[in-house]
Homo-oligomer: 777 residues x 2
C-alpha cells in the first residue's frame, strides 16, 4: 500500500512516452541528490562527486527489458556509482515487458505478479528508509505511463497501490505536447500527484514553454526544461561517441551541466528540481500532520460527539485503494501511511473497491459529455440505460432488481430521499384509493418493524419507531405501528429464530429466563432462508399469519388506525443493529397485508405483480440491495416482489451520491392517470438522474455482470451450498466464531459479517467499539 | 455545436501521436467509402475506382502545417481525386499549429479563433450533408489529441463542441500502447465516443493485439490492424521511392491492399471499417429516435404530469457543452442535433458551462485517489480544503460565504437535505436554550416568508406554508408562520417595492385597485439594494420594525406560538416564482428577531456574529449563493450574517450532488458541549463529504477566483454601476423589456433574468410556458 517516510522522499518516474530520457533524468536527479546539502541553499563546485552532508539516494528499476549491458540501472551505476541501484526483474528482449515476459515464460503471467511487484517495491522502499536519512528514492518505470507491466496491466494501474508522488518525464519531440498532456491526464485520473515535469528544452517545438504555462495554470505543476552541453549547444544528451572513453567523458560533462545548470546561472538545473521536490515533500508532511486538528476545527461530522475525539483519534485518509484506506500515522521508522481496512465499506457504499479505474473513467466520460443536464421532460443516455437496466430491460446474467414487477424509475440523491419519494408514492396511492374526497381527519400511518431505519430526513424518520436517532429531533413524530420482528442468529453452529415478547406475541410460549420466544432452529442458513419450503412444511407460517391477522385487526378495527404503506428492510435491518429478520415472517407479513385489502378499505382482488393490493409494500433495499448480502434483491429470497423499492449506496459503485426509487405501474398510474399537473409527484432534486452518477452505476452493473459470468463468487456459493444464500466469509470460520463464549451470536450473508459480542450497553449510544479501538492503539 | 446527419456519417480522425498514419488511414477510409456499395455486403474488384452506387466522401483538414506540397489534403487528392477535400487553415512551418500561427501572425491569436474554426467546420459539414446522400465526412486533426490548435487550445478541447464520433489512429511504435491508451483516455474524459481504433499491424511489438483485447473488454471499441503491401511484407506504407512515378505506383498498390485487404481474404480491411462505422451510425440514429418513447415508458420524471408529454415533447439530450444542450430533433436536411439553450442552467446547477474539462478532470482525480471514503471521525484533503474555503480560511479574491461568522461545515447531498440539517441544528438549539427539561407540549415552529421553498423532503416542506407542492402530500404539516414579503419589481425602468396586504399590513395604505401596498420607488437597483443607506435615510425601516414587532408579539403572546428558527431565502425566492424580496425588509426581520430575544424566551445580550440571539437565523442560499445572483453570499447585501446557511447547486460546479450546511460556533456548541453521544447531531448520509464532489467544488472555487481576479464580469458591474448589485444582462435591455405592455415586470440580478408576463394562471399548476413552447414548435 501507499508509503510515505518523514526522512526520505520517494518518487515514481513515469515517461510521457518511451525514449524521452527517463534514465537520463533519473541519473541526473540521483546525482543532484548526492550533491545537494541539507539546506540546499548554496551551489557547490561543478563536479559530480557526492557531498558528505548530502542525502543518500537509492534507485530502483522494478522491471527492465533489453540486454543486461543496456540496463538503465547499469547506466546509472556508471555515472553515479555511489547511488544504491537495483533492478527487480530483467528481461533480455527490448520490447514491452508483457511480451518480454511471455517470450521468457511462454505464457502471460498471472495477475498475482502485479501484487508481487508492488509488495517488492514496498519492501525495497522500507529498506531504503531504514538505511539512512535524509534520503531520496526513485523508481523508474518502463516505457510510457500506460505501457504494460509483465502481467499486462498498465504501469500506472500496477503501481497505483503505492501512489508515490510522480516525476513525469515529458516529451520534447514533435507531438510531445500531446503525449505529455495525455500522460499527465492518465496519471491524474488514477489519483496520482504529479509533482514535477522534467523535459529537455526544445528550441524548435517549444514544448517546454507551452507545457510550462499550461500546467502552471491548470494544475500548479512546474515544468523544468533541463539540459546539458551536447556538442551542439544545450539540450538533450550528446550523440554517442564511437570510442567508449570519449563517450563516457562527454556524458560526464553532460551530467555536470544537467545537475549544476549553465555556468552563468541562467535557466534551471537538477538541483532546482531537488529543492522543489524537497519543498513539496515537506509541505505534504506538514499538511498531513495538521489535517486532524484542522478538521476538528472546521468540520462537523455526522453522528459524532466531537468532544470524544482528540487529534490522534481522527483517521486522516491520504488515499484509498481496493479495500484499504492509506491512513496517516506518526509511527517513526515505518511508513507514515498505514493501510486500514475499510471495514464498513465506507458506510456500505463500496463494492468494487476504492480507486477503481473503470468507475473513475466512466465518471470522467459522463462529465465530459454532459456535465449535469436537466431531467424532467428530458432524457440522457446514462439515465435511460440505467433505468432500463434496473427494470431488467437490458441483458444481465443476474436478475435485475425491478425485473418482473417494476415499471418506473425515479431518481434522487441518497437513500433518505429515495425513501421520502417512496413514502410519498405509497401513502398518496392509499389516499387516492381509500380516501379520495374525504376530509383529512385521521393520520396516515405506516406499518413496519421495530429496529427499522430509513434515513435521516424527517419524513423517513417519521416512518420509524422512536429511538435515539429521534430523541433530539423536535419535529420527529413517529406515525406508524412497528411489529417486533423474529430474527435469526447463529450460536454453536445452529440457526435460531427468536423474538422478543410483547403484546402481539402474548399467546406464544416464552423463555422467561432469556425474555424471548424461541420460534425455530435450523441446521443451516440454507434451510432457514428456504422460504418456499418453510411455507409448505411446518406450522410457523400459519402461526405467523394468525398472529398478524389478529394484530392488524386490532390496530385497524379497535384502535382506528389508518395505514398507508407497509415498509420493510428485507432480510437485514442495517442501522438498527444488523438485525437478520426471519424471511418467513416478512413474507407472511406481505402476504397478510395483501390478503387483508378489506381491512384497509379496499376489495380483495387477485393480484398481479404490477397491481398493489391492501397496502403498497415498500422494500428499502438501500443497504441490502445489489449484492451486499449476496443477491441482487431480497425479493428473490422472500419470493414476493414489492410495489416500491429503493436502491442507493452500491448503486453508484461507491463513488458519488445517487439513488433510485422503483415503482410498479399501479403506483405510477395513481399519479399519471390525471391530466392535472398538481396530481403529479411534485418532488425532485437539482441533480436528478445526473449523468455522472448514472454512468458510474451502469459501469458498476457491467463489472458485476462480468464478475457474475466469470463465476467470481461461485466458490463461496459452493462453500455455503447455495446460490441464493451464501457469504464471502468462510462457513467453518463463521461457525467456529459462533461457539466463542464472549460471542453472543454470529450471522453472515454476502459481504456482511455480524459478530454480536456480549455487551450490556449496545446501540447508538454505545462507545464500546470506540473504547476497544482506543485500547488497541 | 454538435452535428449529426441521417444520411451522412461524419468522423473526427485523431492521432495517438504525430506520424502514426492519420493521413494514410484517412485516405484509405475515403477510398473505401467511394468503393463500398450501399449494402456493403459484396467485395468489389480490387481497384480504387469509385463505384457509382457508393457514398459521396468529403475530407477536411481544418488546420494544416508544413509546405503546401506536403499537405495532407494534397496526398489524399493524389490517390483519391474524386473525394471532396479541402483545408481551412494552412501554415507553412511543419511545427505545431500554435507556433506556426505565431510565426505567421507574430502573436498568439485570440481565443475567438477556436469558435471560428468550430463554426467553419460546422458550416462545411452542413454543406457536405446537403450535397448528396449517402455520404461520409472525415475531419483530420493535426498532431496528437492534445496537440495545440492555432489558439493554443488542445485539439480535443477545440473540437469538443462538435463532439463528432472519433476514429483514433493508434500508434504501432514501441511505446505505442501507452500513447494510444492515454490518447483514448484523454478523448473519453472529454466526452468523445471513440468508435474505432485504426493502426498498422506490428509483428514485433504486438500493440494491436494488446489494444484489441484491452479496448474490447473495457470500452467495447474495436481495434482494426490494417496494412497493405510495402515491399517488405504487409504493414505500414512502403518507403518512399526515389522516382515519383514509382512511388505513386507503390502507394496505389498499397492503398488497394489497405482498402480491400489481403487477397486471401484473411485479416481486416478498410471496407470492414466502413461497414463497422456505418453500423455504429445506424445504431446511434436508431437509439436516438427511440429514446423519447423509451424514456416515457420507464422513467418517472420529477414534477411532471406524464400525460402531457408526447414523444415529440421530450428533450433528448445527446450531449451538452457550454450553455447549450445538443438536442435530438427529426428535422431532415439540417443536423439531427440542434443546440438548445439551457435556460434554467439545469435547475440552477450550472455556472461554468456543461462539459467543462477542468471540472471533469478534478472529478476523475478524486475518483482515482479515493473513490468515496468514510467521513465521520475521519478526514480527506478535498473535504477539509473545501471546508476551509467555505469558511474563508484559504485565500480567495472574494469573500467566502462563511467568512466572519461560520465556524463549521456539515456536508450532505442536496439542498433539501442541507436544509433538513439546518432545521435540526436551529430548532434543537432553541429547544436546548429555551426548553431544556420541559415537557414537549407546544409545537416548535419556524418564522418565514410566504412563497418560500426549501426542498421536497417532508421536514423542509413543513417549514413552508401550504402550497400546490404540499396539497397532495398526506404527511405535510406546515409548522410556522409566514409573513407576506415586500418584493421588488422593475416596471417602466423604475424599481418598485410592493406588498400584498394582509392582517399584518392592516395599518398600511393600500392601493385598492391593484390590491397591493406600495412601499417605495427607486430610480435604480443600486439604490434599492443599498441597505445601509436605506436604514439611515427614510422611515421605511422603522415602519417595518414596528409592524414586525407588533406581529411577532401577537404571534407569541396572543397566539401562544413557539418559534425555533427564522428561515429565509435571502433576496430571491426561486421556486416560489422568482420573488425578489425587499432586502431592507429581510434585514429588518433579522434585526427584530435578534432584538426580541426576550419574546422567544431568552435574554437580550449584545450579539457577536458567532453567537445566535432570539432565534437561530437560517439563510437558504441554495439558489442564491455562489454568484447565481452576482455575489458570493446575500449576507453581503443584507449587511448581517446568519447563524446557519445552506449551499448546493453551483457548489459542486454543476456536476454531481453535494451540499453544505454552515453553522456558527454557538450552534455547533449546542451539540458539542456534551459528552453524550445521543446529544450529537445524529444525521448523516452515506456519501457525506464525498471526495469527488468536494474536489469538483474546490476546482469550481478556483476557476471562479481566477475569473474574479481577471475581472471577467467587471464590465457587467460597470454597466450596472455597482460591484455588489449587477447583472449579466445589459441594463438598457432590461429597462426596455420592463416597458412592454405584456410584460408585467422585470428583474435582473447576476445570471438571473425574470420576465413576469401578464398571466392570470401563474404558478406551479400553470402550463402556459409549456403551451407557449408547443405553439412555437
Amino acid at each position: 500500500m501507499a508509503q510515505l517516510f518523514a526522512g526520505m522522499r520517494a518518487h515514481q518516474v513515469f515517461g510521457a512516452d518511451t525514449e524521452v530520457g527517463k534514465t537520463i533524468f533519473s541519473t541526473g536527479y540521483a546525482l543532484a541528490g548526492t550533491l545537494c546539502s541539507a539546506d540546499a541553499s548554496v551551489r557547490g563546485p561543478r563536479t559530480l562527486a557526492p557531498r558528505a552532508d548530502a542525502e543518500r539516494v537509492a534507485y530502483l528499476k522494478p522491471v527492465s527489458t533489453g540486454p543486461p549491458h543496456e540496463m538503465d540501472a547499469g547506466h546509472l551505476q556508471q555515472y553515479a556509482p555511489w547511488v544504491h541501484s537495483s533492478t527487480m526483474l530483467q528481461f533480455a528482449e527490448p520490447v514491452s515487458p508483457h511480451l518480454a515476459s511471455v517470450q521468457k515464460a511462454g505464457t502471460l503471467p498471472h495477475d498475482a505478479h502485479d501484487a508481487q511487484i508492488v509488495s517488492g517495491i514496498g519492501a525495497w522502499l522500507l529498506q531504503q528508509a531504514r538505511a539512512s536519512v535524509p534520503a531520496a528514492a526513485i523508481i523508474e518505470t518502463a516505457g510510457g505511463v500506460n505501457s504494460p507491466a509483465p502481467s499486462g496491466s498498465s504501469q500506472a494501474d500496477l503501481l497505483r497501490p503505492l501512489r508515490l508522488p510522480v516525476v513525469l518525464v515529458g516529451s520534447s519531440k514533435l507531438g510531445g505536447i500531446s503525449t505529455t498532456r495525455s500522460a499527465l491526464e492518465s496519471l491524474r485520473m488514477r489519483g496520482y500527484d504529479v509533482e514535477a515535469v522534467l523535459m529537455f528544452p526544445s528550441q524548435r517545438y517549444q514544448n517546454d514553454a507551452y507545457l510550462q504555462s499550461l500546467l502552471a495554470e491548470e494544475y500548479a505543476i512546474p515544468v523544468f526544461a533541463l539540459g546539458g552541453p551536447n556538442g551542439d549547444g544545450w539540450g538533450a544528451p550528446p550523440v554517442r561517441a564511437v570510442c567508449d572513453e570519449e563517450d563516457h567523458a562527454r556524458m560526464r560533462d553532460y551530467y555536470i551541466g544537467l545537475v549544476h545548470g549553465r555556468e552563468d546561472g541562467s535557466g534551471t538545473s537538477m538541483l532546482d528540481v531537488v529543492r522543489h521536490l524537497r519543498a513539496a515533500h515537506a509541505k505534504r508532511l506538514a499538511r498531513l500532520s495538521t489535517m486532524a486538528s484542522k478538521t476538528r476545527e472546521v468540520c462537523w461530522w455526522p453522528f459524532t460527539q466531537h468532544g470524544r475525539y482528540t487529534d490522534e483519534d481522527v483517521m486522516v485518509i491520504d488515499s484509498a485503494y481496493g479495500d484499504f484506506f492509506a491512513v496517516h500515522n506518526n509511527t517513526p521508522q515505518t511508513s507514515l501511511l498505514a493501510p486500514a481496512l475499510d471495514g464498513s465499506a465506507s458506510w456500505w457504499t463500496q463494492v468494487l473497491g476504492h480507486g477503481h479505474a473503470r468507475l473513475g473513467a466512466a465518471a470522467a466520460y459522463a462529465a465530459g459529455r454532459y456535465g449535469h443536464v436537466l431531467f424532467p421532460g428530458a432524457t440522457n443516455e446514462p439515465a435511460l440505460a440505467l433505468s432500463e437496466t434496473l427494470l431488467g430491460k437490458r441483458p444481465l446474467s443476474f436478475s435485475a432488481p425491478g425485473h418482473g414487477w417494476a415499471s418506473r424509475v425515479f431518481f434522487s440523491d441518497d437513500g433518505s430521499t429515495a425513501m421520502e419519494v417512496a413514502l410519498k408514492m405509497a401513502i398518496q396511492s392509499s389516499v387516492r384509493r381509500y380516501a379520495e374526497g374525504e376530509g383529512e381527519d385521521r393520520e396516515w400511518q405506516v406499518l413496519g418493524l421495530q429496529g427499522s431505519y430509513h434515513g435521516d430526513t424527517i419524513g423517513v424518520m417519521d416512518a420509524c419507531e422512536p429511538s435515539v436517532y429521534s430523541d433530539h429531533v423536535a419535529w420527529y413524530k413517529g406515525r406508524g405501528y412497528w411489529l417486533a420482528p423474529p430474527t435469526l442468529r447463529v450460536k454453536h453452529g445452529k440457526v435460531h429464530v427468536i423474538v422478543r415478547p410483547n403484546r402481539d406475541w402474548a399467546h406464544w410460549e416464552r423463555d422467561t429466563a432469556r425474555d424471548e420466544i424461541h420460534l425455530a432452529t435450523f441446521d443451516s442458513m440454507q434451510e432457514a432462508y428456504d422460504v418456499t419450503r418453510r411455507m409448505q412444511h411446518g406450522e410457523l407460517y400459519e402461526n405467523y399469519r394468525a398472529m398478524l391477522h389478529t394484530t392488524l385487526t386490532r390496530l385497524v378495527r379497535d384502535e382506528g388506525r389508518r395505514f398507508g404503506a407497509l415498509v420493510l428492510e428485507p432480510l437485514v435491518m442495517g442501522a438498527g443493529g444488523m438485525l437478520f429478520v426471519d424471511p418467513l415472517f416478512q413474507r407472511c407479513l406481505v402476504d397478510v397485508v395483501r390478503e387483508q385489502a378489506a381491512l384497509f378499505g379496499g376489495k380483495h382482488v387477485s393480484r398481479t405483480p404490477s397491481q398493489w393490493q391492501g397496502l403498497p409494500v415498500i422494500y428499502d433495499e438501500i443497504f441490502t440491495g445489489l449484492f451486499r448480502i449476496g443477491i441482487p434483491s431480497a425479493a428473490d429470497v422472500l419470493g414476493t416482489s414489492p410495489d416500491i423499492a429503493c436502491y442507493a449506496k452500491i448503486l453508484s459503485g461507491g463513488l458519488v451520491p445517487l439513488s433510485a426509487t422503483l415503482a410498479s405501474s399501479s403506483i405510477f398510474d395513481t399519479f399519471a392517470h390525471s391530466d392535472e399537473k398538481t396530481r403529479a409527484l411534485l418532488h425532485g432534486h437539482s441533480y436528478t438522474a445526473h449523468p455522472v452518477g448514472c454512468s458510474v452505476a451502469l459501469e458498476t452493473f457491467a463489472i458485476l455482470d462480468e464478475m457474475h459470468m466469470r463465476g467470481d463468487w461461485a466458490k463461496h456459493q459452493e462453500d455455503w451450498g447455495s446460490t441464493t444464500i451464501w457469504s464471502f466469509w468462510n462457513k467453518q470460520f463463521v461457525q467456529r466464531l459462533s461457539a466463542y463464549a464472549h460471542v453472543e451470536s454470529v450471522m453472515a450473508l454476502g459481504t456482511v459479517l455480524k459478530i454480536a459480542l456480549v455487551d450490556q450497553d449496545a446501540g447508538a449510544p454505545s462507545v464500546s467499539a470506540q473504547r476497544r479501538r482506543a485500547r488497541k492503539r
